[in-house]
């Protein structure tokens, strides 16, 4: 069942999924834990389907991403699944791939030139978190309290998540005082920044993170400052569905919610969608939208995702 060598894979246009022996998955943010999670499932699925999965090393750099895609196109891999750092910037590559007979699946959004897409709305994940936190604030705090956001202004997906999160929250809980809006995607940075926010506003009620990593750091800062882990007037929430965060939610701490990507569904889609295209499915038929779900304590999905990490 081992795929034939990459060498044999070139030079032909896939007429069916049998012709697709290799799928190249181009994910630029390999330093994020979500990547490893999705990769785990994508690899499992690839094995099941008898295709080999190749990955790139873009290191968060848009021009390296473009170069690596050029390389994959020159190599004529049968299928590329790419998560564009800047969507418009990869239209050229997508078009080139298509005209070379390569299946192009856009990951995390859509392009004009594509065979199909795997979508999950970043904006929506942020929005769901923001709405839930706002509802909680209105209910528990009577809509009055302090909120800090740990955001990302550097990459496109971060900007979308940030916008979804902040807009939804401030709209639904307009009287909450915003006491911080700091760049942080990892727990280290988030811990430091949240501590500084807490020095001025020790009574922050809500901390929302652009990633679970950031929210986790915020959570730690609160605990370090003496907040009880089950404090009723505190809400921390993040996005992605990292194991550590989900465990805190399950434990019943004030880490209350995560807008979780369903890693297994996405991982499967990375393999299934290009194979479906190869089997003649149209963009509309092959494309998959993986919903982002806000998981909270007691949700069945919470245990399911935790179990997925195995």
């Amino acid at each position: 069942s081992a795929p034939s060598s990459t060498k044999a894979s070139g030079d032909k246009v896939a007429k069916s999924s049998k012709d697709v022996d290799t799928i190249a998955w181009d994910y630029p943010f390999t330093f994020l834990p979500v990547y490893a999670g999705v990769a785990k499932f994508a690899k499992e699925r690839a094995k099941e389907k008898g295709v080999s999965l190749e990955q790139t090393n873009d290191n968060g750099k848009p021009d390296v991403q473009a170069s690596n895609l050029d390389t994959l196109i020159a190599k004529k891999v049968p299928a590329i699944v790419s998560f564009p750092m800047v969507f418009e910037a990869l239209e050229t590559q997508a078009a080139k791939a298509l005209s070379a007979g390569i299946i192009w699946v856009t990951y995390g959004g859509t392009l004009k030139n594509q065979s199909a897409s795997i979508t999950f709305s970043f904006e929506e994940g942020g929005r769901k978190l923001g709405e839930d936190a706002a509802a909680w604030a209105n209910q528990t705090l009577g809509g009055k309290g302090k909120v800090a956001f740990l955001v990302d202004d550097t990459i496109q997906l971060g900007i979308e998540r940030t916008k979804g999160m902040i807009d939804a929250f401030t709209k639904a809980a307009p009287d909450m005082q915003v006491v911080g809006r700091e760049q942080a995607i990892d727990p280290d940075t988030a811990l430091t920044k949240t501590k500084a926010i807490l020095a001025k506003h020790p009574d922050v009620n809500v901390i929302l993170g652009i990633t679970d990593g950031a929210a986790f750091g915020g959570y730690k800062a609160l605990v370090e400052s003496g907040r009880s882990e089950t404090d009723a007037k505190t809400y921390v929430g993040g996005q992605d569905g990292d194991l550590g965060s989900l465990e805190l939610i399950k434990k019943g701490t004030f880490y209350r919610a995560s807008a979780a990507l369903q890693l297994r569904d996405i991982g499967n889609a990375v393999i299934d969608v290009p194979l479906a295209v190869a089997d003649g499915k149209s963009d509309a038929e092959a494309s998959t939208d993986v919903p982002i779900t806000l998981v909270k304590q007691g949700d069945a999905l919470l245990d399911e995702i935790i179990a997925q990490y195995g």
């Binding site: 834990p33 490893a36 760049q183 280290d188 430091t192 501590k195 194991l243």
Partner: protein
């Protein structure tokens, strides 16, 4: 004598007045800068930086450089975190494994740079990249649930101080004593100024910097382990990312010359404090993200200016000394 001495110290360490001014400014702007909680918070956050900046500074003084610390930090964090979470490792075994990992990276760097004689910049840029890959390969997913024993490392209070701060103080004192009191301290400077002259004088020009590479590697891994313990989690992809630049910045802003042979640990501690206070203050004041970056960039330029002024100010302050304690550096560069 005291007054003139103090003036010279101030002139020698212009970061002191700058830090004082920053503290006053941030306090006036926010009313919550000076407060034991915030100051202890800054100290705790800065502790890991200090722990690595100190041996790194010795390395730079000896004419070498280690850029790999950002990834060694991650490797040390992963090693300790993995043992703690997957095997319930005790505090001691976790720290030992982490130190071993750091020593291994340090040994590779030290061997290539000191024994073989390759360029420290390229070699440690290489290990920066490679070690990050190894750490991620080893632990692609976040590690959590470390258990109580390991939590002590970052979370204990010793004599009222957080354990990272205590460890940092110990590191500073030990390194300071070596630098100021022992022959090796002199040798570190000598090697940095002229490896050839030091060699001809019988100084161990390979062993000394090799050992500093070991110390830097170990300290970076320890810092990673401490941060892992503080956070209760490790992400191999982001842990310590960019830490190498923070360390180098602290060292250079603290007055250590990249060309080797000069600098003091007190200056480095000031450099660490400067960066920690700046980061904290900008967040406290609530400066928007992008302007924070601009401000941090400008602060570096200002720090470079201060480092430039220091010897000149010192020379001025030395105009009427009782007896010069140290000759002033040449106050005049080639082109003035």
């Amino acid at each position: 004598m005291n007054a003139s001495l103090n003036l010279r110290q101030l002139a020698r360490y212009p970061l002191i007045p700058v830090i004082v001014l920053m503290a006053i400014g941030f306090e006036l702007a926010t009313g919550s800068f000076v407060g034991s909680q915030n100051l202890l918070g800054i100290a705790t956050d800065s502790a890991t930086l200090a722990i690595v900046a100190v041996p790194s500074a010795l390395l730079v003084i000896s004419g070498y450089l280690d850029l790999s610390v950002g990834s060694t930090y991650a490797l040390g964090a992963v090693a300790a975190g993995w043992l703690a979470s997957e095997h319930g490792g005790s505090l001691l075994t976790c720290v030992l494994l982490s130190l071993l990992a750091g020593l291994a990276v340090g040994a590779v760097n030290g061997f290539l740079c000191c024994v073989v004689g390759l360029s420290p910049f390229i070699v440690t840029l290489g290990t920066l990249t490679a070690v990050r890959g190894l750490a991620q390969q080893f632990a692609p997913l976040p590690l959590t649930s470390f258990g109580d024993s390991f939590a002590w490392l970052g979370g204990a209070k010793i004599a009222g101080l957080p354990s990272p701060v205590v460890i940092a103080i110990v590191v500073v004192l030990v390194a300071g004593a070596i630098l100021a009191l022992t022959p090796v301290g002199r040798h570190i400077y000598a090697i940095g100024v002229s490896r050839e002259a030091a060699y001809l004088s019988g100084v161990r020009v390979r062993t000394v910097p090799f050992t500093l590479f070991l110390a830097t590697g170990a300290s970076a891994a320890l810092a990673g382990a401490i941060k892992a313990s503080v956070l209760g989690a490790v992400q191999s992809g982001t842990a310590g990312s960019g830490f190498e630049l923070a360390v180098l910045t602290a060292v250079l802003v603290g007055g250590v010359a990249l060309t080797g042979g000069s600098g003091t640990l007190f200056g480095v501690v000031l450099g660490v404090a400067f960066l920690g206070i700046l980061q904290n203050g900008l967040t406290l004041v609530g400066v928007p993200t992008f302007w924070q970056q601009v401000a941090q960039g400008l602060a570096l330029v200002v720090a470079a200016g201060l480092a430039f002024l220091a010897p000149r100010l010192e020379a001025l302050a030395a105009v009427r000394p009782t007896a010069p304690r140290r000759a002033a550096a040449d106050p005049e560069p080639a082109t003035t």
